[in-house]
Structures are given as C-alpha cells and as structure tokens.
C-alpha cells in the first residue's frame, strides 16, 4: 500500500474512503458508443438534402448537375418509353452471364489447385501470371479474337470475376489448419470425407471474401466495357447522353449502377451470414 492519499471531494458520507484507497469512478469510455440502427443512411440522406436545397435555390447549374427530381422524372420517362428496362436487362444479362462463368471457373480452378499438387503446379502460377496483367488491358486483343459482340464482353467480365474468387478460395483451401488435418486422420476420415467435411467448410469464409470482390468486379468490368465498346446497355445509354449533353440521363445510369451494386453486395452478405452462421458465435 502506498502512502499517497486520494482525497475525493465527491465521496458520499455513507462510504468514507479508507486511507490509501479512493472512491471508484467509472473510467472514461474510449470506444465509440452503441451503434444505432440504419445510421449508415444518414450520410447519403444529408448529401441528397443538400443537393435538393442547392437545386431549389438555383445555386447549381442545371445543365451540369440537374435537380434530383429532374433525374427522377427522366428516369420514369425513360422507363415508360421502354428504353431503360431494355438497357437494364441487357446490362444485367451481361453481368450475370460473365459472373456465372467467372464464378464456376474460379471455384473449379481453386479446387483443382488447392486439393492436388499437380493442379497447383499447373494452375497457381498461371493464374498469378494472369492476375499480373490488367484485365481491361486485354480488351483490344479480345475484340480482335472474339469480335465486338457480346462474347468478348462476357469473357472480360468472367476474367475480372474469376481471379479474386480463385485467389481467395485457393488461399483458404491450402491454408487449412494442420490440427484439423490431424484430427481427420485420427477420426479415420476418407479423403473424400475429409474434403467435404473439413476442407471445404473451412475454406468457405475465404471463398466469400473472393465472392464479394468478384461481384464488385463484375459491375466494374461492365461499366468500362459498356462505355467504350457497346451498342446497347446502360453504359451505351450514358455514352449517347454524353454526346447530346443530357446530364440527367447520365445520372439515371449512375443511380441504376449504384442500386444494382448495392443490391448484389447485400445479397452476397445475406447468403454469407446464413452459410457462416457459426462465425457469429465466435465474435460475440
């Protein structure tokens, strides 16, 4: 016990501090407080409000940044005219087809490479080489090979998607905890049981990281492809609008891209939370 005495002026009379001790006060909390629901929407809502107010007050050049309601009007006009649904459908088809191919290829290559030494020798280096080349830099070559139609667009999206899925899944498959391998040996699992009950479930968290990157990648690839090499789709719509100075149409396109990006990312997150529900027990 030290000789320093803490004199706390606020100590209640009922509990007089013993010499050498002092009244305990709760320490100042350093972590931010509890998170309120839906608080993430506050920032975007403030931006939208500022935009509306500035437009209404005439502070913004309507030619450069049209008012939110103008964008909405244009959107509903394009929708009822039938061009917007058509463009959205084309873009969605491209993204979905490219994504599905990329997903399948990414998973198959990761399994072949993560579960067999031969596969690893053949595949892993090749994919990493592929990764070193910026995929969008392949566009000119792919146009010459596959023509300027749908095929090359889907091929580019598939490449953008498969790389993160492969890399993360492969890392997760080959990084399986050696203690679990030992356990599987002790419990007498067959190779197939080991892969199905230990390796694949253990690699799922890594796969989902790759999946989310792949979903984002598919939209990124789509935007680039449609803005430079398309004759239909959302990007084409925006490209045309640029030629005619229709900023409202460009904004409609951006909003649609944003909405689809958000929806697809949330969908993956929901699936992830379901499949990996056991993980919540670790963090809580």
């Amino acid at each position: 016990m030290t000789t320093t005495t803490h004199t706390t002026a606020t100590a209640p009379a009922a509990l007089a501090p013993v010499e050498g001790t002092h009244q305990v006060r709760r320490r100042r909390r350093l972590a931010p407080g509890k998170r309120l629901p839906a608080t993430r929407l506050v920032g975007p809502a403030v931006v939208l409000a500022l935009w509306s107010v500035a437009s209404a007050a005439g502070l913004l050049d309507a030619g450069a940044i049209p008012a939110p309601w103008t964008v909405l009007e244009t959107g509903s006009r394009l929708w009822s005219a039938g061009t917007l649904p058509n463009d959205i459908l084309t873009s969605l088809q491209r993204a979905a087809t490219g994504f599905s191919i990329g997903l399948t290829v990414g998973i198959l290559l990761a399994l072949a490479s993560g579960l067999t030494r031969t596969g690893e020798a053949l595949i892993d280096g090749t994919v990493n080489l592929n990764r070193a080349i910026p995929t969008l830099g392949l566009i000119p070559l792919f146009i010459l090979w596959l023509g300027i139609g749908e095929t090359f667009k889907i091929a580019i999206i598939a490449i953008v998607v498969y790389i993160p899925i492969y890399l993360n899944t492969h890392a997760a498959l080959s990084g399986i905890d050696s203690r679990f391998v030992e356990l599987a040996e002790v419990q007498g699992l067959s190779k197939l049981q080991f892969i199905r009950q230990v390796v694949i479930p253990g690699a799922l968290p890594g796969f989902f990281v790759g999946l989310r990157l792949g979903v984002t990648g598919s939209w990124l690839g789509l935007v680039v492809l449609e803005q430079i090499n398309a004759t239909s789709g959302l990007g084409y719509m925006m490209f045309q609008a640029q030629n005619y100075g229709q900023t409202d149409v460009i904004l409609v396109g951006l909003v649609v891209y944003g909405v689809f990006g958000l929806i697809s990312d949330s969908a993956v997150r929901i699936v992830e939370r379901r499949v990996l529900s056991w993980r919540r027990t670790l963090s809580s």
Partner: protein
Amino acid sequence: MAPHTEQLTRPAVRLRGLTRSFEGRTVLDGIDLDLPAGQLTALLGHSGSGKSTLLRAIAGLDHGVAGSGQLTAPERVSVVFQDSRLLPWRRVLDNVLLGAEGKDAGRKGREALEEVGLKGRERAWPGQLSGGEAQRAALARSLVTEPELLLADEPFGALDALTRIRMHGLLRELWERHRPSVLLVTHDVDEAIVLADRVLVLEKGRIGLDLTIDRAHPRSYRDPLLGEYRERLLAALGVTEDHR
C-alpha cells in the same frame, strides 16, 4: 514394481526398440514397453522429453519422422488433444460424430454427450462452449468410436484448476465404464498419481521410471500415502528439495 497384470491380459500396445529422431536429434531412444489392455497409464516427462512424440508414434501420426523399431497397437484408437479441436462449423453433435459411421451413430453420439454431461447442448456451436465443455465434447467424440486404446495428449493442460479436477473425475469414471487402455500424457505429477494405475517417466528418450500405484480409487489429492509416490516421481523428474 512387478508388472502384475501382464500374465492376465495380452498387451494392447507393444513397443520394441522404438526410436524416433528429428533432424539427427534422438528423441526416443529404443523404447521397450507393453501397455496391458484396459490399464490406465500416465506418461510423465519434461517438456521436450518426447512424451508427445511417443504418443504420436503410437497414434500413427508421425508422418515423415525418422525412426525404427516395432510397434503394435489396437485397431480402434482415439486421440484426445490438448485443445478440444472441435470444427467450428459443425454443431456439437456433428463434431462428436465426425468419422462415425452406421445408422445408430446418431444415438451413440447423443449417449456419449449425455455421459460427459453435455445433454441438451447437441445443437450448440463449438464457439458457444466454455473450455471445459469443449474438452468434454472432445472426450465424447473419442468415445463414440468405442476405442480399444485412448491416447490423451495433455487433455486437461489448457483448463483452469477447478475444471481440471472435475475432468479428472469424469475421465476416471468413463474409463471404469468403458475400460479402454488409456495412455495419458501429462506434465502434472498430481494428475498422474490421482488418475493412473501405472506411471511412466520418460527421461532422455527412455522409460526412466515405471511405477505401479496400488491405491484404491477414488483417490484424494491430499492422501498422505500418495506423497511417497510424488517424491519418487519428482526425484525421477530431477526436481529435488532445493528446487522447491
């Protein structure tokens, strides 16, 4: 100490001239050992004395380790590790049933969980269990396969003192009911004395002391007669009065 049960039962585990070495360093140096069927044997030793190497050799888990000698062990062997090693993505019952086959496996798994006091926790995730509960589940997993030989590698080493004492009782109880041969690797002298009928001390890659503990169960940690065994074991481990 006479190996009193040797004539009655054939040995479950037989080691002859078992040698293992890592990168030229001899860890096990020609061990000859018989573990009679149905006996609970404890294996003591310093860290690095080769206890785990011996256990892993008997379990057949020492891939790529250089060595020679003869080794026979039963068909059905279970291992309990220091960590519970439950797969976090399988519920407790599914963890217990890992590798178990047959249509009544589910029933056996539930029974094993009930035996270790985890009835009602079948659907829990391993992440929701305490350290002691997780180790109980690991014990249940090792029982489901009805092992003839149970190898336990410091199974209580990561538990707190109170939980450890409770687990000692559970292990002894399970052993009495199922009677597998048990090799319990530990560095805890008291644990060995309270649980085992025979205590081996591994010293410089050989069995330095082979002690039969002829006291009735359940044993108390405070039994003064066990003190004599403790002294002998501590002496064999090189712990003398001036170390304490």
